[in-house]
């Protein structure tokens, strides 16, 4: 288990102010985690006793019934599978498309390469909110509204990923390509057997980012999906909360949120450094 960008160890005289700062930081940390602790402990408390005041920090009486109630109200397992499917296809597909394009921009000279690259970069300024209406019309005409395809297909083009990978490929010496080419290697070999393996950190950072973006996306499912069986988790949670008949009990909603948050928390604690590096190196705010 590694941790976030640990500051270098420095020896310094202990000052009185230091203790005050420590206390302030500790309380900030406690306030930040409090809602999550409350979330998890309430979801583990029997429905009759949950949300009592003062707030319960230890689930008493302990119960898993709230979790059992979630699939009664929404097809939670199906939604989780949808989320996983869409995020996996989106991440793998976008990586493949981007790796190929990044190779062309980094290693091959071709007519129009500069203009194309500038056009791609300009698209970073175009917000999804502008393109979503035409994309919705397109999906409707293709009969893809209310399908998972509508969720992953538009994400296969990720301009930032192409740019990011091109930068990374550019940092790998071109002499390596020449050496491989003398040995008879072709472009696909150079890309997939040499550059891709050498780009581990960049690809890892990008994968985490792409997966997170898909996994957490609410806007696109909200627009494209209407059937609960086709929903991904974020939209499923909101559907569970608002419900068809006046909404579900808060404890059940809490159980569902816990089911969504807990895997992310566990993955984060295991691979903390990778997550943080992904954010710090890409600088994308999701």
């Amino acid at each position: 288990m590694t941790d976030i960008a640990a500051p270098p160890r420095r020896r310094r005289r202990l000052r009185t102010g230091s203790l005050v700062v420590d206390l302030v930081l500790l309380s900030v940390g406690v306030i930040m985690v409090a809602p999550l602790v409350w979330l998890i402990s309430s979801s583990l408390t029997a429905a009759s006793a949950a949300f009592s005041l003062p707030p319960t920090w230890i689930p008493r009486p302990f119960s898993l019934q709230n979790f059992a109630d979630v699939p009664e109200l929404v097809p939670f397992g199906r939604m989780a599978l949808n989320s996983l499917l869409v995020a996996t296809i989106s991440t793998a597909g976008a990586l493949l498309v981007s790796v190929l394009a990044a190779y062309a921009f980094s290693r091959l000279s071709f007519r129009g390469s500069r203009a194309l690259f500038v056009a791609l970069l300009s698209a970073l300024m175009v917000p999804t909110q502008l393109t979503i209406i035409p994309v919705f019309i397109l999906m409707r005409n293709l009969g893809l509204v209310d399908t998972l395809t509508a969720l992953w297909l538009p994400t296969l083009i990720n301009v930032f990923a192409i740019f990011f990978l091109r930068q990374y490929f550019n940092s790998i010496p071109k002499e390596l390509d020449d050496a491989a080419r003398i040995d008879g290697a072709g472009h696909l070999w150079i890309l997939f057997r040499m550059l891709v393996p050498l780009s581990g950190p960049a690809l890892a950072a990008l994968s985490i980012l792409l997966f997170e973006m898909s996994w957490n996306n609410y806007f696109n499912p909200l627009i494209f999906i209407s059937t609960p069986e086709k929903m991904t988790l974020p939209l499923g949670l909101v559907t569970l909360q608002s419900g068809q008949g006046g909404g579900s009990p808060a404890v059940v909603v809490f159980a569902a949120i816990t089911l969504v948050v807990l895997p992310v928390l566990i993955l984060f604690l295991l691979f903390q450094r990778s997550f943080v590096t992904s954010i710090a190196s890409t600088g994308i705010r999701g």
Binding site: A5, A6, P7, R10, R12, S18, V21, D22, L25, V28, G29, M32, V33, P35, L36, L53, P54, P55, L96, V97, A101, A104, L108, F110, A119, A123, M125, V126, P127, Q129, L130, T131, I132, I133, P134, V135, I137, P154, L156, V159, I162, R181, G186, H187, R193, N216, Y218, I223, L233, P234, L237, V238, V253, I257, V261, L265, F268, F275, I279, R285
Partner: protein, 315 residues
């Protein structure tokens, strides 16, 4: 996954045969390059360029997605100027973005400085994890959770504010407090991002510079203003721009918690766009609103690009 070698064996450089071979190789390289970029280009055309052009076209029409579209010229744009709800949503959004930038930059910087000291490692780990983690949770889960945290009867926040003697307002039914509540939720959700970016920036400030200033007798505050801030100004600038652009597109907490209310006090520009496009199905007018969002983001990006270029030249 091997392909044919691209070098032509048996040709010496400088001979006529070599130059034809080179030309042939270059032509082949061009076709290879087109093959490599084609998936990206096709998808780019279908999902970004096409929709972009189409959206501009749509903004000249009145269309409800069902009956035939009607060409109205610039009517949607003149309507933008007479629409009090658009003005209100723009003001709300700018206020939100301003508050978001100030709270994130100040809070993020203070946290980064606080953590970037010699301190207990367990405490440091706890604070960094606690501050960063909420950023990884989806807006949907965050919004639902906070709807309950701020609930006027059983909410966590309501209770503890009561304990310290503050009578919490009914956040989401009071037009005065609904936007500040969402500013707070957004802070909790995304401060981790700003924190990580600023901490990374802070760690690039050379220690020798700080030590030198201290030797010259500068106190902590002077070191902060005259060494730390100027050295990490590109990072601060980047964090400001990215926070602004993100905040300007705020949508989920409004749609999930308040539905834009009460009294439209939390109708952000994207929320208003969404209502027009997908609830009242005024696709043409919604496209005009989307173009406003685009123009704001483009302006900020271009200004950022221009400023950061100047910065690099001056250094």
């Amino acid at each position: 996954m091997t392909a044919a070698p691209t070098t032509v064996p048996g040709t010496a450089p400088g001979t006529p045969a070599a130059s034809t071979a080179r030309r042939r190789r270059r032509r082949r390289q061009t076709w290879t390059a087109y093959a490599f970029v084609s998936p990206a280009v096709v998808l780019f055309a279908i999902f970004i360029v096409g929709p972009f052009v189409y959206a501009i076209g749509l903004s000249l029409y009145a269309w409800d997605l069902l009956t035939p579209a009607r060409f109205v010229g610039l009517e949607n744009f003149s309507r933008l100027f007479d629409d009090p709800m658009l003005a209100k949503s723009l003001i709300t959004t700018f206020l939100f973005a301003l508050a978001s930038v100030v709270t994130h930059i100040v809070g993020g910087l203070l946290l980064a400085i606080g953590v970037n000291r010699a301190m207990n490692r367990a405490l440091s780990y706890f604070v960094r994890t606690a501050v960063f983690f909420p950023f990884l949770i989806s807006w949907a889960a965050v919004s639902l959770l906070w709807k309950y945290v701020l609930d006027p009867t059983f909410g966590l926040m309501t209770y503890y504010l009561g304990v310290i003697g503050i009578d919490a307002p009914s956040w989401f039914s009071d037009p005065t407090w609904s936007l500040p509540a969402i500013i707070g939720i957004d802070f909790w959700h995304t401060i981790g991002f700003t924190f990580v970016i600023l901490l990374a920036g802070l760690q690039t400030v050379p220690n020798t510079l700080v030590e030198a200033a201290r030797t010259d007798g500068a106190n902590s505050l002077r070191v902060f203003w005259h060494v730390t801030v100027p050295t990490m100004s590109p990072t601060l600038f980047f964090a400001t721009v990215i926070t602004f652009i993100g905040a300007f597109q705020i949508f989920e907490p409004m749609q999930i918690i308040t539905n834009g209310g009460p009294d439209d006090s939390t109708t952000s520009i994207v929320m208003y766009l969404y209502e027009n496009a997908f609830q009242s199905f005024q696709v043409g007018y919604a496209s005009a609103i989307a173009l406003v969002v685009f123009v704001v983001i483009m302006t900020v990006t271009v200004v950022q690009f221009w400023l950061s270029k100047r910065w690099v030249h001056e250094q």
